[in-house]
Symmetry: C2
Subunit: 935 residues, 2 copies
């Protein structure tokens, strides 16, 4: 964890593979090697006693080496060696620049022919304080103030809650006094007396230190090679990796406690699944961005609890009322012999409705009046969740001192841009203008020059086109599955085997959904890569816009991918069937598929649950656990193969923290984690009307997910660079869009997919006695068997001779009516009711959402009061400090005066001017006085 002097902390590590030139060139010339070694020794000595000098020496040495080498070796280098050499030079220049920026560097000697080398970086106080001021990092000042708590009932309730949840609280060391908060203020070296600096080595915690170093690494460029910061260097393989160090090992009971171990014990184990998350500690260790992610995930999981409870109640309500449900009873009643029209041409027979009894009963579990209530509940739940998140975000922002955080967009230009422009040369043909420009002035784009509109058009066009293509790919995949279903169903129904035929629907649905799932999983991976590539060719200006656009694109593609089959089942399946005698055919002889007699809702439910569960189990958990393990294994194998035995001794004897961390996976951003959760949020809200258990499954998944992610962050990833963010950015907008979309989708699911409206209509408009008796009969239309087209009549029918009329599910005029088989008046009346319900539901829920949104203030009242208080405390604090300094200077001047008086008379003039000063402009002398106290 420290340099060899065991004093200076390692704040950051750069790792690279080196390969010495093989002794192909004349061994007599071999001066470079000692030079380099002396350089690295010089580097090590840097930061010792003779700071400034040693640096310059090392630098000079390096430059000499630079100048010497090209002349000497340019001839006998193989291309590979030339590349290596080039990288070596870049590294040297980069490290020199880092030292110029004030960082201190320690390096192992490259004493093998090839191997892994670590550059360890330490930031001394001088650098830290300078950068902290530059970055306006808020640091706690000496001043602490009390957080006023609300009194009355709220406080009592809160206390009770705290007591009740005590066993669920993680055992992390709390700050001694949770009611006090120390005032934070952007660090300023001028006002250093304000801060509570006990020890300059620990004033900035590890996360802040590494953040500062990372900022310097990002900023430092090697001019001669036109590279911008560490990002480019890593992209160009000059360095292998750059990471801050973990705080220590996470396992082992004996060692002293470090934050990583604490996190592992209280948070990143499955055993801790019932505990609250130690958010403050997470934030301290991983930074605000990751802290916010886990806070969000935690809140979401907590919010899933009530919704799963309500979901279970709704489901139970369905279970309980299933016996008293008249329509399913009627359907199962063998005495009501509804002879249904055949499900396929020629090979299918007439069938009795009571054979579909099971589906009907199962349907009722999800298709009952409680579902309507539940989907209103869930729409409001989503609004509440978003509101609560806004509040939590404000609260965290206050406690984490993010309130005044400004966006500093300009500086964080995209680092990989240049590397990108080199990589994607294949793109030249498609969008000729932009990459050409990029190659001409690769630096100019990185820095300032704006791409004009015409430069951007090809990129946008490609984007638009490809996204459309991808979406149509998804649609065709869905269509493919439909065709599979139709043809398989038809093929299976030809089968002579009775059991096969009876299980047609189950077999087909199950296999089709699994195919769907596999397609979704595959396309998801493809789309992730495509989205990234697409965003890169757009050349967004800043890191932030890059991330936002990437997220938007990836979300759009993955959303369509995940939901397209579900949308199909919910709104389109069974709507283009036609009617007996006039069926719609997809291909010659293949009828469009229709829903099960219980309604499409059941199928939607199956589809939803399989896709949701499958996606979560396979993609999120299996992939997330499996793939990193696999990658690690592969890397290890590769390392073992490429690195000769000589390394092993070094590794095994005493692995340093940087060695341990190097083996871990690099952190690649939070986007996949968020994406997974957001898609899940979609499953929970969008089709909740058809699957009330979705929140429960989501909850179960998330309880694992939190610990899984935690474990990954603590044990399997290198420590991420801490990033300050004051909100979750674009994700919030996506969530709010999904929330809004869910209202209209649920309205349609209830109105169109479920049988809720027809049942209501029957009960209050058509039923003879106000009960549901006769509902099934009412929903089935008559068809005169003799109207079946020739060749479509069932062959080998058992009933053929008894059947005059068969029934089918639709509201159509009977054969004996004037306009036979036209939509009946009931059809239109029910349709009106359905649409009226959609309007009513949508507007009601939207209104309620707006009300909820309006009634819950975005900023919690106590926090907004605290923020106000903080402001005034800050002003008071400053004034007080200044006042004290003023007193000090006054006493100083008084003493000075006395001295002067007792001294010679020549000084009187100065003393007078001083005292005048102190009298006339008291308020503003303070900073002067602060000098004096320090001098």
């Amino acid at each position: 964890m420290h340099f060899r002097d065991s004093k200076r902390k390692v704040d950051y590590v750069l790792a690279y593979h080196y390969r010495k030139r093989l002794p192909r060139h004349p061994p007599g010339v071999g001066s470079p090697e000692p030079t380099r070694r002396s350089l690295s020794l010089a580097l090590v000595s840097n930061g010792g006693t003779g700071k400034g000098r040693a640096e310059l020496q090392g630098q000079d040495g390096g430059q000499h080496a630079l100048q010497e080498r090209p002349g000497l070796e340019v001839i006998d280098l193989s291309p590979l060696d030339a590349l290596e050499e080039e990288k070596q030079l870049q590294r040297e220049e980069y490290e020199r620049n880092l030292m110029e920026a004030g960082l201190e560097i320690e390096k192992d000697p490259e004493n093998k022919s090839q191997g892994l080398c670590f550059v360890r970086i330490h930031a001394p106080w001088q650098v830290l304080s300078r950068e902290a001021e530059l970055l306006k990092i808020k640091m706690p000042t000496k001043k602490v103030y009390e957080i006023t708590e609300e009194g009355g009932i709220l406080k009592t309730l809160n206390d009770i809650w705290c007591k009740l949840t005590e066993p669920l609280q993680p055992e992390v060391p709390q700050p001694e006094n949770t009611k006090m908060k120390s005032l934070s203020y952007p660090f300023s070296r001028e006002k250093i007396y304000l801060y509570n600096i006990k020890d300059k080595d620990t004033f900035f915690d590890n996360a802040t230190r590494s953040r500062i170093v990372h900022e310097i690494l990002k900023r430092t460029s090697t001019k001669s090679r036109n590279s911008m910061g560490i990002g480019t260097l890593i992209a160009n393989n000059v360095y292998e990796a750059a990471y801050p160090l973990h705080d220590g090992e996470y396992e082992g009971q004996n060692g002293d406690m470090n934050e990583r171990k604490l996190l592992y014990r209280e948070w990143a184990r499955y055993g801790a699944f019932y505990k609250f998350q130690p958010i403050d500690l997470i934030r301290k260790y991983f930074g605000e961005k990751i802290g916010l992610y886990f806070a969000w995930l935690g809140l979401y999981t907590e919010f899933l609890i009530p919704s799963s409870v309500v979901g279970i109640i709704v489901f139970l309500y369905g279970c309980i009322t299933i016996e008293s449900d008249i329509p399913s009873k009627e359907m199962c009643d063998q005495r009501n012999a509804f002879t249904m029209c055949p499900l396929c041409d020629k090979f299918c027979d007439y069938w009795n409705l009571s054979s579909a009894c099971t589906t009907a009963r199962a349907s009722h579990l999800f298709d009952n009046p409680a579902t309507v209530f539940f989907s209103i509940f869930m729409a409001l739940w989503a609004t509440m969740f978003l509101e609560q998140w806004k509040r939590l975000q404000m609260r965290l922002g206050y406690f984490w001192d993010l309130t005044g955080l400004e966006e500093e967009e300009e500086e964080t230009c995209r680092k990989e841009q240049q590397a990108t422009s080199g990589e994607h040369k294949g793109f030249d043909k498609k969008t000729p203008k932009k990459p050409k420009k990029t190659q001409k002035h690769p630096k100019a784009i990185d820095a300032k020059e704006k791409l004009t509109w015409t430069d951007r058009i090809p990129g946008y066009a490609a984007n638009f086109g490809l996204i459309l293509f991808m979406i149509s790919l998804t649609f065709s995949a869905v269509f493919g599955v439909i065709v599979y279903r139709i043809t398989t169903a038809a093929a299976l129904s030809f089968s002579t085997n009775a059991t096969t035929r009876s299980n047609v629907r189950v077999t087909v649905t199950a296999t089709a959904v699994i195919i769907n799932l596999v397609v979704i999983l595959i396309l998801d991976e493809i789309y992730g890569a495509v989205a990234k590539w697409l965003t890169e060719i757009e050349v967004p200006k800043t890191e932030k816009t890059f991330e936002e656009r990437l997220i938007l694109k990836a979300f759009l593609l993955k959303f369509v991918n995940s939901y397209a089959p579900i949308f199909y089942v919910a709104f389109f399946k069974g709507r283009f069937v036609g009617r007996p005698g006039h069926y719609v055919y997809v291909f010659d002889g293949y009828r469009m598929e229709e829903c099960a007699p219980g309604g499409c809702l059941m199928e939607l439910c199956i589809q939803l649950s399989i896709i949701m569960l499958g996606k979560q189990l396979i993609q999120n958990n299996l992939f997330e656990i499996g793939i990193p393990k696999l990658k690690k294994l592969l890397r290890k194998l590769k390392d073992d193969r490429t690195e000769p035995k000589e390394m092993d001794t070094n590794h095994s004897k005493d692995p340093q923290q940087w060695d341990l961390d190097y083996i871990l996976e690099p952190f690649t951003g939070l986007t996949p984690e968020y994406m997974e959760m957001i898609i899940q949020f979609g499953f929970v809200t969008l089709f909740v009307a058809s699957f009330p258990l979705a929140p429960l499954f989501a909850l179960l998944n998330n309880i694992i997910e939190v610990r899984l992610d935690a474990k990954k962050f603590v044990t399997e990833l290198r420590r991420p660079d801490t990033v300050r963010e004051k909100d979750i950015g674009i994700w919030y907008n996506i969530l709010s869009c999904i929330g809004k979309l869910s209202v209209i989708i649920n309205a349609f699911v209830i109105a169109v997919t479920s049988d809720f409206i027809p049942r209501l209509m029957y009960q209050y408009a058509y039923s003879q006695n106000g009960t549901m008796h006769g509902f099934i009969n009412h929903t089935l239309s008559y068809f005169n068997v003799s109207h079946l087209k020739a060749g479509t009549q069932p062959e080998n029918s058992l009933f053929a001779q008894d059947v005059l009329f068969c029934r089918f599910k639709d509201y159509r005029e009977p054969p004996w009516s004037q306009n036979q088989y036209e939509f009946s008046k009931q059809y239109w009346a029910v349709l009106s009711a359905r649409l009226a319900f959609v309007i009513l539901f949508q507007n009601l829920v939207m209104l309620l959402s707006v009300l909820v949104d309006w009634m819950i203030p975005d900023i919690p009242k106590d926090i907004s009061e605290q923020i106000k208080k903080e402001k005034s405390v800050l002003v008071d604090f400053f004034l007080k400090e200044e006042h004290e300094k003023l007193k000090l200077i006054e006493s100083f001047i008084a003493r000075d005066k006395q001295k002067h008086k007792s001294g010679t008379k020549g000084k009187r003039h100065r003393a007078a001017s001083f005292s005048q000063l102190s009298r006339s402009q008291k308020g503003s002398v303070a900073s002067f006085s602060s000098q004096h106290t320090e001098v």
Copy 2:
């Protein structure tokens, strides 16, 4: 405009009426009068040479007077005199406190037995700079920077636009260089060297000066009487008025130009109606809040131009296509003898549809396919308008330096609160808790003590109840008009006069609408007062919440009031008629009213246009011009009556600015102006589908309105206190709500009120040949005359014997059908189509609005760049200033050193410490040095 010394500017004026005690008490004692006179003389002399002393003298004198008087006169004072005396004491204390706060005061001697007295207040530089620092008023610094303009096509277009609109630009002096902006920074006395102070008397402009004085007036309290600031004093009639002075006269060519005159000439005349508004000048003169109002009004008016143009085109389209419109042709065709069922029982005869030809043709003007397009257009227009306003607001905020404006809510407690608690004693019985408390500790509430929840409940309950009551009052008024219409129509149709009978509909509609209008106008005034009263009993904490709640309540009431009759006509009229033979009766024998044969849209259109135009003409213009004139006249009459002749001589000889301004009306806030415009915005957007000319009328009204308001502000009102606001507050939210509401309302108007959907349905579903021929026949149902109930058959019918079937407008089964007179299949089909249209329209338009909202960034790109630039320029500027100071101090120290060297050796120690200081901590010496340069 100045004190008697013609130097010190009058920044604020307080006016009061005084009444001397009549010489009832022993004339020998008469010392108070000279005392008071000496006091006022002392006051006048204050601010002269012997500042501090004179003040104390005057104060002492006053206190003596205070102590003397009660003992002397307490016996022989009438109650009226006692009140006068009390006020006199309060005034004296208040003015003394103002002087203590540093203000300078000049007062006329009270040398008559009663009369008007002006207290003129001047704020010296000391006070101004102190308060400017306290209020963080941003002032321009010396630094100016260039505003980078966008290049390319945009600039060219902008130039062309500027050139084209040059004649429309008001001729106000522009700042010399519009491309430069001086950097503003909150005023700070410490950093006074930063600001560009040419003359301390003019550095703060008149508006800022009066704002500062107003702040002091608000803050200063008279402790002995528990009053908080000028607001309470005015409410308690201690002072009559408090106002800043106008800049001079607005008329007269000869005098030198002042800003008021400039405003009058270039802005506040009807002759200038075609010009743009000089927004910057308005802001400078009236402050940001009023500036924002006019900017908003201007933008709204500009936005009305395109919408009126499109509206006219839509109307013209209706005019042009009227001849080719088949339904109206069919209706007018005498050959199609549609015999319609009688419109009333017994007295009405069967009638021929062709007699309603005119209405049908008129309907087509507003009810054509272009209307659908227009209402989509208007929904997007509203979104665009709001987006543009956000942008304009940001732009103005940038140029007016409002960007960093913080909300300082805590301090602006409601000033009238105390006065209120005294006034509304009648309220005690209803909500016993609150006012009791108020009376016990009237001050406590003003200051800090929070009203608990239980204290507030009665207020809220009263609010809720009264608002409900008011709304039901509105509804009953609407219902009353309906009853009037039904009964009058019935009464008129009994008439034997043929012309009366033929004009029944026109007469009834016209009179009813006028009654509606009158009711609206009356209730509007009542509601305004009620809303204010309701908000007062709620006791909101701050001025801002008071305003917001008042606006919300007033808006709610006025909105319901204005729109209830229109909503009735649009959605309810003619929907509860029943059918021939089964009519719905309101009272015994009075049938529910139905729409004209052309549809209700025509009536909606009439209703809308009359209410809109009537409201605008009568309320906005007549009231706005007439009432102030009337009030002025009344006041003048009253003043003439109460004030004896002796004043006249004084007045006439040389009216000072404060005399002139006193005669003007006080400024009572922008709420009525905004309210008027918002209600108009509602007319323009909410029912635009039925009245495409609404934007045109609104435009015409607004062109007048702008100048009318301008004239009012410049010539008829006292100068308002300038208020800094960075946005239009709650009005924006109301506008955006109206915008959202308009989508759904227009969807319903098109779908339900207009005949758009039935026509579409007929053309594409029912028509034999795809044309509209036969549409009228299709919409009319048959009724078998013999089914009419006994006693409802027309008496004295001309056709009775020929008529077997009469027709009525509805989709019902014919008499020969099985379910005679039930709703037909067409009815349900059309209803489905209508509802589907609503869903489609609403979601489409909402989506488009979201897209527009998303595509137009809230902050204009150039402004956000400027703001960023300003920040960096600010930092640079500071650094540079500091650097210069540093150099200065270095040279100073160097000189000092030299001096010291040449002096005695004892000083060496100090010099060394200084030089060390300057070397090691250069960055922070600057403020010290700034002292030195000034000393």
